[in-house]
Amino acid sequence: MTRTLWRDHDWHLIHVDPQPPALHMALDEVLTHEVGTGRRPPTLRIWEWGGPAVVIGRFQSLRNEVDAEAARRHGIEVVRRVSGGGAMFIEPGNTITYSIYAPLSLIKGMSFQEAYAWMDAWTLEALGELGIKAWYQPLNDITSEGGKIAGAAQAHRGGAVLHHVTMAYDIDAAKMLDVLRIGREKLSDKGTQSAAKRVDPLRSQTGLPRDAIIDHMIATFRRLHGLSDDALRAYELAQAQVLAGEKFTTPAWTGDVP
Protein backbone atom coordinates (compact mmCIF):
# COMPACT_ATOMS: atom_id res chain seq x y z
CA MET A 1 0.00 0.00 0.00
CA THR A 2 1.46 3.34 -1.00
CA ARG A 3 0.62 6.66 0.57
CA THR A 4 -2.25 8.56 -1.05
CA LEU A 5 -3.05 12.28 -0.99
CA TRP A 6 -6.41 13.91 -0.30
CA ARG A 7 -6.87 14.74 -3.97
CA ASP A 8 -6.29 11.12 -4.96
CA HIS A 9 -9.72 10.36 -3.50
CA ASP A 10 -13.25 11.18 -4.58
CA TRP A 11 -14.63 12.66 -1.33
CA HIS A 12 -18.33 12.49 -0.59
CA LEU A 13 -20.38 14.49 1.91
CA ILE A 14 -23.14 13.20 4.18
CA HIS A 15 -25.00 15.87 6.14
CA VAL A 16 -28.52 14.70 6.90
CA ASP A 17 -31.29 15.29 9.44
CA PRO A 18 -30.71 14.86 13.18
CA GLN A 19 -30.27 11.29 14.36
CA PRO A 20 -30.30 9.69 17.81
CA PRO A 21 -26.94 9.26 19.57
CA ALA A 22 -26.76 5.46 19.34
CA LEU A 23 -27.42 5.63 15.60
CA HIS A 24 -24.48 8.00 15.22
CA MET A 25 -22.24 5.47 16.98
CA ALA A 26 -23.51 2.74 14.66
CA LEU A 27 -23.11 4.87 11.53
CA ASP A 28 -19.45 5.41 12.38
CA GLU A 29 -18.91 1.66 12.56
CA VAL A 30 -20.88 0.88 9.39
CA LEU A 31 -19.43 3.69 7.25
CA THR A 32 -15.85 2.96 8.32
CA HIS A 33 -16.43 -0.63 7.23
CA GLU A 34 -18.00 0.43 3.94
CA VAL A 35 -15.05 2.68 3.10
CA GLY A 36 -12.66 -0.09 4.16
CA THR A 37 -14.21 -2.52 1.70
CA GLY A 38 -14.24 0.11 -1.03
CA ARG A 39 -18.02 -0.03 -1.45
CA ARG A 40 -18.34 3.60 -0.31
CA PRO A 41 -16.01 6.38 -1.45
CA PRO A 42 -14.07 8.24 1.25
CA THR A 43 -16.59 10.36 3.12
CA LEU A 44 -16.98 13.40 5.34
CA ARG A 45 -20.04 13.16 7.57
CA ILE A 46 -21.36 16.12 9.54
CA TRP A 47 -23.47 15.01 12.49
CA GLU A 48 -26.76 16.55 13.61
CA TRP A 49 -27.87 15.42 17.04
CA GLY A 50 -31.43 14.25 17.66
CA GLY A 51 -31.10 14.46 21.44
CA PRO A 52 -28.74 15.16 24.31
CA ALA A 53 -25.99 12.63 24.95
CA VAL A 54 -22.88 11.82 26.83
CA VAL A 55 -20.50 9.97 24.54
CA ILE A 56 -17.74 8.15 26.40
CA GLY A 57 -14.52 6.86 24.87
CA ARG A 58 -14.04 3.17 24.03
CA PHE A 59 -11.76 2.60 27.05
CA GLN A 60 -13.40 4.83 29.66
CA SER A 61 -15.08 3.49 32.75
CA LEU A 62 -18.81 4.19 32.67
CA ARG A 63 -19.19 4.76 36.40
CA ASN A 64 -15.98 6.76 36.72
CA GLU A 65 -16.98 9.13 33.92
CA VAL A 66 -20.73 9.56 34.16
CA ASP A 67 -23.04 10.54 37.00
CA ALA A 68 -25.81 8.18 35.93
CA GLU A 69 -28.40 9.76 38.21
CA ALA A 70 -27.68 13.25 36.86
CA ALA A 71 -27.83 11.94 33.28
CA ARG A 72 -31.25 10.41 33.98
CA ARG A 73 -32.46 13.59 35.62
CA HIS A 74 -31.49 15.65 32.57
CA GLY A 75 -32.85 13.05 30.12
CA ILE A 76 -29.41 12.47 28.63
CA GLU A 77 -28.61 9.26 26.75
CA VAL A 78 -25.23 7.72 27.58
CA VAL A 79 -23.45 5.91 24.75
CA ARG A 80 -20.00 4.42 24.21
CA ARG A 81 -18.24 5.06 20.91
CA VAL A 82 -15.85 2.78 19.02
CA SER A 83 -12.81 5.07 19.39
CA GLY A 84 -10.70 5.97 22.39
CA GLY A 85 -10.38 9.41 23.92
CA GLY A 86 -12.47 11.31 26.44
CA ALA A 87 -16.12 11.88 27.23
CA MET A 88 -18.18 14.47 25.37
CA PHE A 89 -21.31 16.27 26.53
CA ILE A 90 -23.71 16.91 23.68
CA GLU A 91 -26.91 18.87 23.36
CA PRO A 92 -28.37 19.53 19.91
CA GLY A 93 -26.78 22.74 18.64
CA ASN A 94 -24.05 22.98 21.29
CA THR A 95 -21.28 21.28 19.33
CA ILE A 96 -20.12 20.63 15.78
CA THR A 97 -19.23 16.99 15.21
CA TYR A 98 -17.86 15.39 12.07
CA SER A 99 -16.41 12.07 10.98
CA ILE A 100 -13.97 11.37 8.19
CA TYR A 101 -13.88 7.83 6.80
CA ALA A 102 -10.72 7.36 4.78
CA PRO A 103 -8.62 4.57 3.36
CA LEU A 104 -5.65 3.84 5.64
CA SER A 105 -3.39 4.80 2.75
CA LEU A 106 -4.12 8.47 3.52
CA ILE A 107 -2.11 8.25 6.76
CA LYS A 108 0.29 5.51 5.66
CA GLY A 109 3.65 5.74 7.42
CA MET A 110 2.55 8.54 9.75
CA SER A 111 2.89 8.54 13.51
CA PHE A 112 -0.37 8.82 15.44
CA GLN A 113 0.46 12.43 16.15
CA GLU A 114 1.07 13.28 12.50
CA ALA A 115 -2.07 11.45 11.42
CA TYR A 116 -4.30 13.44 13.78
CA ALA A 117 -2.92 16.78 12.62
CA TRP A 118 -3.09 15.72 8.97
CA MET A 119 -6.75 14.74 9.16
CA ASP A 120 -7.70 18.10 10.65
CA ALA A 121 -5.47 20.47 8.64
CA TRP A 122 -8.53 21.58 6.64
CA THR A 123 -10.34 22.39 9.89
CA LEU A 124 -7.52 24.60 11.12
CA GLU A 125 -7.59 26.38 7.77
CA ALA A 126 -11.37 26.85 7.96
CA LEU A 127 -11.09 28.21 11.49
CA GLY A 128 -8.32 30.57 10.41
CA GLU A 129 -10.55 31.93 7.66
CA LEU A 130 -13.18 32.61 10.31
CA GLY A 131 -10.68 34.59 12.35
CA ILE A 132 -9.75 31.92 14.90
CA LYS A 133 -6.07 31.25 15.29
CA ALA A 134 -6.19 27.53 16.07
CA TRP A 135 -3.52 24.88 16.29
CA TYR A 136 -3.10 21.20 17.08
CA GLN A 137 -2.21 20.36 20.63
CA PRO A 138 -0.93 16.79 20.82
CA LEU A 139 -2.10 14.27 21.34
CA ASN A 140 -5.61 14.90 20.10
CA ASP A 141 -6.86 18.41 20.80
CA ILE A 142 -7.49 21.49 18.68
CA THR A 143 -6.96 24.60 20.75
CA SER A 144 -6.97 28.38 20.34
CA GLU A 145 -6.14 31.58 22.17
CA GLY A 146 -9.69 31.41 23.51
CA GLY A 147 -9.18 27.90 24.92
CA LYS A 148 -9.68 24.34 23.77
CA ILE A 149 -11.94 24.05 20.76
CA ALA A 150 -12.14 20.36 19.97
CA GLY A 151 -11.09 16.81 20.70
CA ALA A 152 -10.35 14.22 18.03
CA ALA A 153 -10.22 10.42 18.04
CA GLN A 154 -9.18 7.84 15.50
CA ALA A 155 -9.88 4.15 15.14
CA HIS A 156 -8.52 1.77 12.52
CA ARG A 157 -10.84 -0.88 11.09
CA GLY A 158 -9.96 -3.14 8.22
CA GLY A 159 -8.52 -0.94 5.51
CA ALA A 160 -9.98 2.28 6.81
CA VAL A 161 -9.40 4.94 9.41
CA LEU A 162 -12.23 6.65 11.25
CA HIS A 163 -11.30 10.15 12.37
CA HIS A 164 -13.99 12.04 14.28
CA VAL A 165 -13.95 15.38 16.00
CA THR A 166 -16.29 17.21 18.35
CA MET A 167 -15.94 20.99 18.56
CA ALA A 168 -17.45 23.09 21.34
CA TYR A 169 -19.84 25.68 19.90
CA ASP A 170 -21.76 26.78 22.98
CA ILE A 171 -21.88 24.34 25.90
CA ASP A 172 -23.81 24.71 29.15
CA ALA A 173 -20.85 24.13 31.48
CA ALA A 174 -22.92 23.73 34.63
CA LYS A 175 -24.98 20.93 33.14
CA MET A 176 -21.87 19.31 31.68
CA LEU A 177 -20.17 19.30 35.09
CA ASP A 178 -23.31 17.90 36.66
CA VAL A 179 -23.17 14.86 34.37
CA LEU A 180 -19.46 14.25 33.71
CA ARG A 181 -17.36 13.28 36.72
CA ILE A 182 -13.89 13.59 35.22
CA GLY A 183 -14.83 16.89 33.64
CA ARG A 184 -14.78 18.47 37.07
CA GLU A 185 -11.11 17.62 37.53
CA LYS A 186 -10.11 18.27 33.95
CA LEU A 187 -11.57 21.76 33.86
CA SER A 188 -9.68 22.80 36.99
CA ASP A 189 -6.60 21.13 35.54
CA LYS A 190 -6.84 23.24 32.40
CA GLY A 191 -7.25 26.47 34.31
CA THR A 192 -10.79 27.02 33.10
CA GLN A 193 -12.78 29.03 35.59
CA SER A 194 -15.15 26.66 37.29
CA ALA A 195 -17.60 29.55 37.56
CA ALA A 196 -17.85 29.79 33.75
CA LYS A 197 -21.42 29.27 32.64
CA ARG A 198 -20.65 28.56 28.99
CA VAL A 199 -17.84 26.83 27.13
CA ASP A 200 -18.29 28.58 23.81
CA PRO A 201 -15.00 29.04 21.97
CA LEU A 202 -16.56 28.79 18.49
CA ARG A 203 -19.52 31.05 19.17
CA SER A 204 -17.63 33.69 21.09
CA GLN A 205 -14.64 33.81 18.73
CA THR A 206 -16.61 33.92 15.45
CA GLY A 207 -19.88 35.61 16.45
CA LEU A 208 -21.47 33.34 13.84
CA PRO A 209 -24.42 30.97 14.06
CA ARG A 210 -23.46 27.30 14.18
CA ASP A 211 -24.91 26.63 10.71
CA ALA A 212 -22.73 29.34 9.17
CA ILE A 213 -19.60 27.78 10.66
CA ILE A 214 -20.59 24.36 9.33
CA ASP A 215 -21.29 25.82 5.86
CA HIS A 216 -17.89 27.45 5.86
CA MET A 217 -16.14 24.25 6.98
CA ILE A 218 -17.82 22.28 4.19
CA ALA A 219 -16.79 24.94 1.67
CA THR A 220 -13.19 24.79 2.88
CA PHE A 221 -13.07 21.01 2.63
CA ARG A 222 -14.60 21.20 -0.85
CA ARG A 223 -12.06 23.77 -2.01
CA LEU A 224 -9.04 21.93 -0.59
CA HIS A 225 -9.89 18.29 -1.16
CA GLY A 226 -12.91 18.20 -3.50
CA LEU A 227 -16.33 17.08 -2.22
CA SER A 228 -19.50 15.70 -3.83
CA ASP A 229 -22.85 15.86 -2.07
CA ASP A 230 -24.11 12.43 -1.12
CA ALA A 231 -26.59 10.74 1.21
CA LEU A 232 -26.77 7.58 3.26
CA ARG A 233 -27.56 4.53 1.18
CA ALA A 234 -30.69 2.71 2.35
CA TYR A 235 -28.68 -0.41 3.24
CA GLU A 236 -26.18 1.61 5.24
CA LEU A 237 -28.93 3.18 7.31
CA ALA A 238 -30.66 -0.19 7.75
CA GLN A 239 -27.42 -1.81 8.93
CA ALA A 240 -26.76 1.03 11.34
CA GLN A 241 -30.27 0.82 12.77
CA VAL A 242 -29.79 -2.88 13.47
CA LEU A 243 -26.39 -2.22 15.04
CA ALA A 244 -27.77 0.62 17.17
CA GLY A 245 -30.40 -1.75 18.55
CA GLU A 246 -28.21 -4.82 18.98
CA LYS A 247 -25.03 -3.14 20.22
CA PHE A 248 -24.92 0.57 20.91
CA THR A 249 -28.05 0.76 23.08
CA THR A 250 -27.21 -2.36 25.11
CA PRO A 251 -25.87 -2.29 28.68
CA ALA A 252 -23.30 -4.93 27.61
CA TRP A 253 -21.63 -2.48 25.22
CA THR A 254 -22.15 0.76 27.18
CA GLY A 255 -20.95 -0.99 30.33
CA ASP A 256 -18.16 -2.94 28.63
CA VAL A 257 -15.75 -1.06 30.89
CA PRO A 258 -18.07 -0.67 33.88
Binding site: R58, G85, G86, L139, A155, I182
Partner: protein, 96 residues
Protein backbone atom coordinates in the same frame (compact mmCIF):
# COMPACT_ATOMS: atom_id res chain seq x y z
CA UNK B 1 -9.04 0.46 45.29
CA UNK B 2 -8.54 3.19 42.77
CA UNK B 3 -5.45 4.75 41.23
CA UNK B 4 -4.94 7.38 38.53
CA UNK B 5 -1.89 8.49 36.59
CA UNK B 6 -1.64 11.12 33.87
CA UNK B 7 1.14 9.90 31.61
CA UNK B 8 3.47 12.81 30.78
CA UNK B 9 2.70 13.79 27.19
CA UNK B 10 -0.06 11.18 27.23
CA UNK B 11 -3.51 10.53 28.58
CA UNK B 12 -5.11 9.62 31.89
CA UNK B 13 -4.80 6.00 33.03
CA UNK B 14 -7.23 4.78 35.69
CA UNK B 15 -7.04 1.48 37.55
CA UNK B 16 -9.68 -0.04 39.79
CA UNK B 17 -8.85 -3.29 41.56
CA UNK B 18 -9.29 -5.40 44.67
CA UNK B 19 -6.76 -7.52 46.59
CA UNK B 20 -7.40 -11.17 47.22
CA UNK B 21 -4.87 -13.20 49.26
CA UNK B 22 -2.15 -10.70 48.41
CA UNK B 23 -2.88 -10.78 44.69
CA UNK B 24 -4.55 -8.35 42.30
CA UNK B 25 -8.17 -9.21 41.51
CA UNK B 26 -11.03 -7.66 39.52
CA UNK B 27 -8.53 -5.45 37.73
CA UNK B 28 -10.05 -2.83 35.46
CA UNK B 29 -7.84 -0.49 33.46
CA UNK B 30 -9.60 2.48 31.86
CA UNK B 31 -8.94 5.97 30.58
CA UNK B 32 -9.08 8.38 27.65
CA UNK B 33 -6.17 6.76 25.81
CA UNK B 34 -6.10 4.92 22.47
CA UNK B 35 -5.48 1.22 21.77
CA UNK B 36 -5.55 -0.73 18.54
CA UNK B 37 -7.13 -3.22 18.37
CA UNK B 38 -9.64 -2.40 21.08
CA UNK B 39 -9.77 -5.89 22.63
CA UNK B 40 -6.20 -5.30 23.86
CA UNK B 41 -7.78 -3.67 26.92
CA UNK B 42 -9.17 -6.98 28.15
CA UNK B 43 -5.77 -8.62 27.55
CA UNK B 44 -4.17 -5.96 29.76
CA UNK B 45 -6.71 -6.54 32.54
CA UNK B 46 -6.09 -10.30 32.27
CA UNK B 47 -2.31 -9.80 32.41
CA UNK B 48 -2.61 -7.94 35.72
CA UNK B 49 -5.11 -10.33 37.30
CA UNK B 50 -3.42 -12.50 39.92
CA UNK B 51 -0.16 -10.52 40.03
CA UNK B 52 1.47 -10.23 43.43
CA UNK B 53 0.40 -7.07 45.26
CA UNK B 54 4.07 -6.51 46.09
CA UNK B 55 5.16 -6.49 42.44
CA UNK B 56 7.02 -3.32 41.49
CA UNK B 57 6.31 -1.14 38.47
CA UNK B 58 8.88 -2.90 36.33
CA UNK B 59 7.40 -6.34 37.05
CA UNK B 60 3.87 -5.12 36.36
CA UNK B 61 4.87 -3.43 33.09
CA UNK B 62 6.66 -6.60 31.98
CA UNK B 63 3.60 -8.70 32.80
CA UNK B 64 1.51 -6.46 30.54
CA UNK B 65 4.09 -6.37 27.77
CA UNK B 66 4.42 -10.15 27.45
CA UNK B 67 0.66 -10.54 27.32
CA UNK B 68 0.14 -8.08 24.47
CA UNK B 69 -0.27 -9.57 21.02
CA UNK B 70 2.24 -8.41 18.39
CA UNK B 71 0.95 -5.40 16.52
CA UNK B 72 -0.97 -3.85 19.41
CA UNK B 73 -0.61 -0.07 19.17
CA UNK B 74 -0.80 2.23 22.18
CA UNK B 75 -1.24 5.99 21.97
CA UNK B 76 -1.20 8.14 25.08
CA UNK B 77 -0.64 5.09 27.27
CA UNK B 78 2.12 2.52 27.92
CA UNK B 79 2.67 -0.60 30.04
CA UNK B 80 4.80 1.57 32.36
CA UNK B 81 2.05 4.18 32.79
CA UNK B 82 -0.50 1.47 33.58
CA UNK B 83 1.96 -0.02 36.11
CA UNK B 84 2.22 3.36 37.88
CA UNK B 85 -1.57 3.59 38.14
CA UNK B 86 -1.72 0.03 39.51
CA UNK B 87 0.87 0.81 42.19
CA UNK B 88 -1.02 3.97 43.14
CA UNK B 89 -4.24 1.99 43.51
CA UNK B 90 -2.52 -0.54 45.78
CA UNK B 91 -0.51 1.95 47.83
CA UNK B 92 -3.22 4.55 48.27
CA UNK B 93 -5.73 1.81 48.98
CA UNK B 94 -3.43 0.46 51.68
CA UNK B 95 -2.96 3.91 53.18
CA UNK B 96 -6.69 4.66 53.26
Amino acid sequence: MHGEYKMPGGKLVVVDLALSDGCLAQVQVSGDFFLEPDDALHAIDAALEGQDAGADEHMLATAIRVQLAPGVMMYGVSPEAIAVAVRRAIDQGAAA
